[in-house]
């Protein structure tokens, strides 16, 4: 197996707001190997975006604050780097695609110039080489190089997102973090973007973290998946194992909630209740108020991370033998 490119260890991020302290990410540990694509899945407030921002050291402070934890990139602890050193990595060796292609581009700069800026800064290219590079990158994402002279408003949403991807890839990053890269796009345009991302992975061996709420995208584009709930990873494993045998009650609940176009289900089985208040998270297991399997112990004790099989983790007391589990039948 390839070696770890990114290691997140015991990351904890808080937002200190007027309404109280919000623990956005708690005790997060994840590894990403070279050439691998990890899907980070969860609903609003699960801590997906904050985790990504913490890797990039872009958590807005204040109100955000990284309380503890380390992020090792290629063996180097990013939290110990000086701001200037971090700037050499950000946008260069690690880059990010943002959710909203409407707001993540500079509206008063041509798209070509925006890409040139990145390569001039990071790759120390002169303007002429940078221009050529920008044209090359646009072509790679299916935009004619001549359009480098156009401004963002002259592009459609799908094309703007492709510009964002071109910019993110312009410095050949080793790690690409894509935060809901297709959420703002129509499904046929989403298909174009996913296809492009898959091609990049095979051609350049880029490692990726794809943040999404869409399990379909994970099944299609990822190798590993981490399911997050209320700031913590509740289940982690290969896409194959998690999709074929979801272990955590929340993961099972998610699968029961989505209408699947390939299956006929009369009625969905939603997860009861609401996302917890982030300033007042439930004690014990954070999912217990909504969990159909919960027992008393779930409200008093925090579940440890179990490893039911190699490369698979789950944070649920069923797998510690403390709570009765599902019957022998497979997959809810």
């Amino acid at each position: 197996m390839a070696s770890a490119l990114l290691q997140i260890q015991d990351l904890k991020v808080e937002y200190h707001t007027e309404d109280g302290i919000v623990t956005a990410v708690d005790n997060l540990s994840l590894d990403l190997n070279k050439g691998e694509t990890l899907g980070l899945v969860g609903e609003t407030g699960a801590g997906k975006t904050t985790s990504a921002l913490a890797v990039m050291r872009l958590v807005p402070a204040p109100p955000g604050k990284v309380i503890s934890g380390r992020v090792l990139f290629d063996g180097q602890d990013l939290s110990t780097l000086k701001a200037e050193e971090m700037r050499l990595i950000r946008g260069n060796r690690i880059s990010m695609i943002f959710q909203d292609p409407m707001t993540s581009l500079n509206p008063v700069m041509t798209v070509g110039r925006q890409i040139e800026e990145a390569v001039e800064l990071h790759q120390k290219m002169d303007n002429k080489t940078a221009k050529a590079r920008a044209g090359e990158m646009l072509k790679l994402v299916g935009i004619p190089a001549a359009r480098a002279a156009d401004y963002p408003h002259e592009f459609s949403g799908g094309m703007r997102q492709r510009v964002g991807i071109a910019m993110a890839l312009s410095c050949n990053p080793e790690l690409l973090i894509a935060d809901e890269p297709t959420t703002a796009l129509d499904v046929t345009i989403q298909a174009q973007v996913l296809e492009l991302m898959k091609r990049l992975r095979t051609e350049f061996g880029t490692s990726m973290i794809i943040i999404t709420h869409d399990l379909g995208i994970v099944a299609e584009a990822c190798d590993k998946v981490a399911i997050m709930y209320a700031g913590a990873v509740v289940e982690y494993g290969t896409v194959e194992s998690v999709f074929n045998r979801p272990l955590h009650p929340y993961t099972r609940g998610l699968f029961g909630s989505i209408p699947n176009i390939a299956e006929d289900v009369e009625r969905l089985t939603p997860i009861p209740g609401l996302m917890p208040d982030p300033t007042d998270l439930p004690y014990g297991c954070r999912f217990h108020p909504r969990c159909p399997m919960a027992r008393e112990i779930c409200s008093t004790q925090t579940p440890a991370i179990s490893t039911p099989e190699d490369g698979r983790t789950v944070a649920c007391m069923i797998y510690e033998g403390l709570v009765p589990g599902y019957d022998t039948e497979e997959k809810a």
């Binding site: 298909a191 989505i258 996302m275």
Partner: protein, 320 residues
């Protein structure tokens, strides 16, 4: 089943600086009593405008909307206002569709306050509606900002039910919600239909959701319906090349799902001065010369299955 609503030749054009924007370029469909017709398509295809035009929330440019035998587009304003009791609307964004300065009870009661109904039993009626949509009665005096998206959408549903309508247009009612909450609202919408015998038009860009909730599905592209049939058939035997591409583009949440994907080149053309001929011709890989000359009509190819494409028509002609 009896037909509740019949739409014929419905058009809605918007004047813009660049020319006439044909948001809805002439659509025909009918909805039977108690059924759900899904309308699906990508942004700018005219699905929301169709829903709004049917309720006259925007005045259609042309066409007929026949509701229980009467063309409601011919109604004068006063009669239309009275008639609105029977057709209601659930909006996409539960954050924008509720007045932030009104309490939940005032929002739910506003429809019958306007029609001067349930005067003496206003509070009971509000609580009854809250119970029906699964809102705790404790929230009766809360304000929208105190509620999360799922609960807000329940308020929107309660308001739509306030006047006992026969027909509701649901415009992307779950698109702004998280998946676990989305499932709760979809179940609620289904349960209400069973209990109250409601008829729905359900508009969404999400084909999985539309397939799940609809009896029949209409696929729209650039202001036109390109295909309409029952929801099973549209997913098993889509006929129009656009429907086929749309279906193949959906990522399926199952491991190892391998399908042939039809990647559409380019973007949707502008609805201002759309080209003559088939609206899909510029992106269609089966395009033939005649597609660029004259638009194919929406034609029934099998019982209850209509498609607007020469490919399908020719095939059916050959077989005859």
């Amino acid at each position: 089943m009896e037909t509740l609503l019949e739409v014929r030749g419905l058009k809605k054009y918007f004047p813009t600086k660049g020319g006439l924007l044909q948001a809805v370029g002439g659509v025909d469909f009918s909805v039977k009593k108690g059924e759900t017709l899904g309308i699906v398509g990508e942004s700018g295809c005219g699905k929301s405008t169709t829903g709004r035009a049917v309720c006259r929330l925007v005045e259609p440019t042309a066409g007929e909307v026949i509701f229980e035998g009467e063309d409601i587009l011919a109604y004068p304003k006063s009669k239309m206002r009275e008639f609105r009791k029977h057709m209601q609307f659930i909006f996409q964004d539960p954050f924008a569709s509720l007045d932030p300065r009104m309490s939940i009870s005032d929002i739910i009661a506003e429809p019958f306050d306007i029609f001067r109904m349930y005067k003496s039993e206003r509070e009971e009626r509000v609580l009854e509606l809250m119970r029906v949509v699964g809102l705790s009665r404790k929230l009766v005096n809360s304000f929208p900002h105190e509620l999360d998206g799922g609960r807000r959408q329940r308020v929107g549903v309660a308001r739509a039910l306030a006047l006992d309508p026969k027909f509701i247009v649901c415009d992307e009612p779950v698109s702004a919600l998280d998946v676990s909450i989305q499932a709760q609202i979809l179940n609620l919408i289904q349960d209400l239909q069973d209990k109250l015998g409601l008829t729905y038009i359900f508009i969404s860009h999400d084909l999985s959701v539309v397939k799940h909730i609809s009896d029949r599905v209409a696929v729209m592209y650039l202001g036109k319906i390109v295909e309409i049939t029952d929801s099973k058939t549209i997913f098993q035997q889509p006929e129009h090349p656009y429907t086929q591409a749309l279906l193949s583009a959906i990522p399926i949440p199952r491991y190892g799902e391998k399908r042939e994907r039809i990647i559409l080149e380019g973007d949707v053309p502008s609805p201002i001065d759309p080209p003559p001929g088939c609206i899909f011709a510029s992106r269609c890989k089966h395009v033939m010369p005649k597609c660029r000359e004259k638009a194919p009509a929406l034609t029934e190819t099998a019982s209850g299955h209509s498609t607007a494409c020469y490919l399908v028509h020719d095939v059916s002609e050959e077989e005859e």
